[in-house]
């Protein structure tokens, strides 16, 4: 456990030192939430269901981009020989992977915190009364996004390939999953397809927690599916990493 904490701390120091990452991961989404809110006409006090859905959708898209780029940092660490150094000692490959996954969750939670705070401050989203349940959905959504980032990093052979794959898959998943406009406006086939995306279940979870005032029981389908997706994505990523040469 301690090596994971050492690596997590290192990743956060790294994030803090990289002003570009801080701006891209936190400030730019904050500004975009404001701009999109104006474009789509979300007004203070009317931010319940639709507001949560829209802000949740954009938040998921920003989150996926941030976490995929974070997972792609594995390539830089490999190229620098850092894995050689770390793995020649007592640290195992799984320690590195767990630390990246947990870092993704923490970064994701930080980003969701900023984005929902923006929603609350700018558009009056009622998040405070539903904070525990919203936080629970955020944890599962961040975990699923982090696992998705790990999967892309595990199947890509280069950072460039990871970026191309991620841009394509994130935009597709966001569009189909309902991050851009409500799923109910889509044809029935697309509505079915959207259920295969983690974006759909995350946005649904945010909307249930904040907009529909759902109980923990009501949220179980969303967090259950997100947990299953996380396990599946992470399992494939783990398997790919063990087969690949990223640690050699």
């Amino acid at each position: 456990m301690r090596p994971i904490l050492v690596l997590l701390r290192k990743d956060f120091t790294y994030f803090r030192r990289d002003r570009g990452s801080v701006v891209l991961a936190l400030l730019v989404p904050f500004a975009l939430i404001y701009i999109f809110g104006q474009i789509f006409g979300i007004h203070r006090g009317k931010g319940g269901g639709n507001g949560t859905q829209l802000i949740g959708g954009w938040a998921m898209q920003f989150l996926l981009f941030a976490l995929v780029f974070s997972a792609a940092s594995l390539f830089h660490e490999k190229d620098n020989g850092l894995f050689q150094r770390i793995l020649s000692g007592p640290v195992k490959r799984s320690t590195i992977l767990w630390s990246k996954f947990l870092y993704g969750i923490c970064l994701g939670l930080l980003q969701l915190l900023v984005l929902f705070s923006a929603g609350s401050l700018l558009f009056g989203l009622p998040i405070l009364p539903h904070l525990p349940l919203l936080a629970l959905v955020c944890v599962f959504a961040a975990a699923a996004c982090s696992a998705f980032g790990m999967l892309l990093a595990s199947v890509a052979r280069t950072p460039e390939m990871a970026r191309s794959l991620s841009t394509f898959s994130i935009l597709l998943m966001s569009a189909v999953g309902g991050a851009w406009f409500p799923v109910s406006l889509m044809p029935p086939v697309m509505q079915q397809a959207s259920r295969a995306t983690l974006v759909y279940w995350s946005i649904g979870g945010f909307a249930q927690a904040v907009g529909n005032h759902a109980s923990l029981l009501g949220l179980l389908p969303n967090i259950g599916v997100l947990a299953a997706m996380t396990a599946g994505l992470l399992g494939i990523a783990w398997w790919q990493f063990q087969r690949g040469t990223i640690f050699e």
Binding site: N80, Q84, R85, L87, P90, E248
Partner: protein, 309 residues
């Protein structure tokens, strides 16, 4: 471990990457306390050998042992430190933070970690730059920190994979002195390089490697004795020396490279005969330099190509 047995043992180790055989039946023993050099051109198999030894990639066949334990076993990992060829550092962390991260991963903590970090920053002459961000460091400073990170856990066996690539002479000397000091204190060092000067200066024994095979093993003197000549005489390849060249032909090996003739006479050749020929052609002695052959010549002899080709 039997005190008589070597610290490192390779037996018929084979490692393939697809169609490429990076290590082709390497057998090698390295005793505790040795400063062992692995000399060969890029792509010879030096880094692969280091990776197998560090447990980073398993061999396809053969046996590699460290202190009697298979390479890669936790017990074997515990006694080794690796200086990778790349600068395995976090560029946005400070020198001290880098060492604290790597120390933390090795299980060091608290006062022990603090004092070890202080000690190593002193040893690599970076104490005054401990709070400097690594990406602002010169290549030499990064190389020294790269070495310090491998020493955190006081390894018994240090694997240095070309640790001076792109380093200024001052940093190179600092690295050499530190490594020689550590070796004097009993640390076994395996040092891979394609610089024969480094191998000659540092290593008590050298293995020459090419195409994944160890071609020769021994001390510098033992390796040089494999050559069919003991001296090498160099002189400019000009019209003035053409007559001398004609005289020397058939009396030893004569080659021309980059405007210089190299005459390598057999061991029983008397240098007085050479000087008589020089006088006969009325050539000034300043044209001629006589030197002991280098490991470069050994490599050329063994492979038919220069070390840096």
């Amino acid at each position: 471990m039997n005190p008589e047995s070597p610290l490192v043992r390779f037996r018929s180790v084979v490692k393939r990457f697809g169609a490429i055989t990076a290590l082709n039946g390497v057998s090698l023993d390295i005793a505790a306390g040795e400063f062992f050099g692995l000399l060969g051109p890029n792509g010879a198999g030096k880094s692969t050998l280091m990776s197998v030894l560090a447990g980073l990639c398993p061999s396809d066949a053969g046996e590699s042992l460290i202190a009697g334990q298979p390479a890669g076993d936790p017990a074997a990992r515990r006694i080794l430190g690796l200086v990778p060829q790349g600068l395995a550092l976090y560029p946005r962390l400070t020198a001290e933070e880098n060492l604290r991260v790597f120390g933390g991963l090795l299980g060091l903590r608290g006062g022990g970690l603090r004092s070890r970090v202080d000690e190593l920053l002193d040893a690599v002459q970076l104490a005054d730059r401990r709070h400097g961000i690594v990406k602002t460091f010169s290549g030499g400073m990064k190389r020294r920190l790269n070495l310090a990170a491998a020493l955190l856990d006081r390894p018994k066996l240090l694997l240095c994979d070309e640790p001076t690539v792109g380093v200024d002479p001052q940093s190179r000397n600092a690295i050499f002195e530190l490594l020689q000091g550590l070796n004097r204190q009993g640390m076994t060092v395996i040092y891979s390089t394609h610089y024969m000067e480094e191998a000659s200066r540092l290593c008590s024994r050298i293995g020459i490697i090419d195409h994944g095979r160890i071609l020769a093993l021994g001390t510098v003197d033992e390796l040089l004795k494999r050559l069919p000549f003991e001296e090498e005489i160099q002189f400019p390849a000009t019209a003035e020396t053409a007559g001398l060249c004609a005289d020397l032909r058939g009396r030893g090996e004569l080659s021309t490279e980059q405007g210089q003739h190299r005459f390598r006479p057999p061991p029983d050749y008397r240098l007085s005969a050479f000087y008589l020929a020089v006088e006969r052609h009325n050539l000034p002695s300043r044209h001629f330099t006589i030197q002991r052959p280098s490991l470069e010549a050994v490599f050329l002899q063994l492979t038919g190509k220069a070390l840096r080709e």
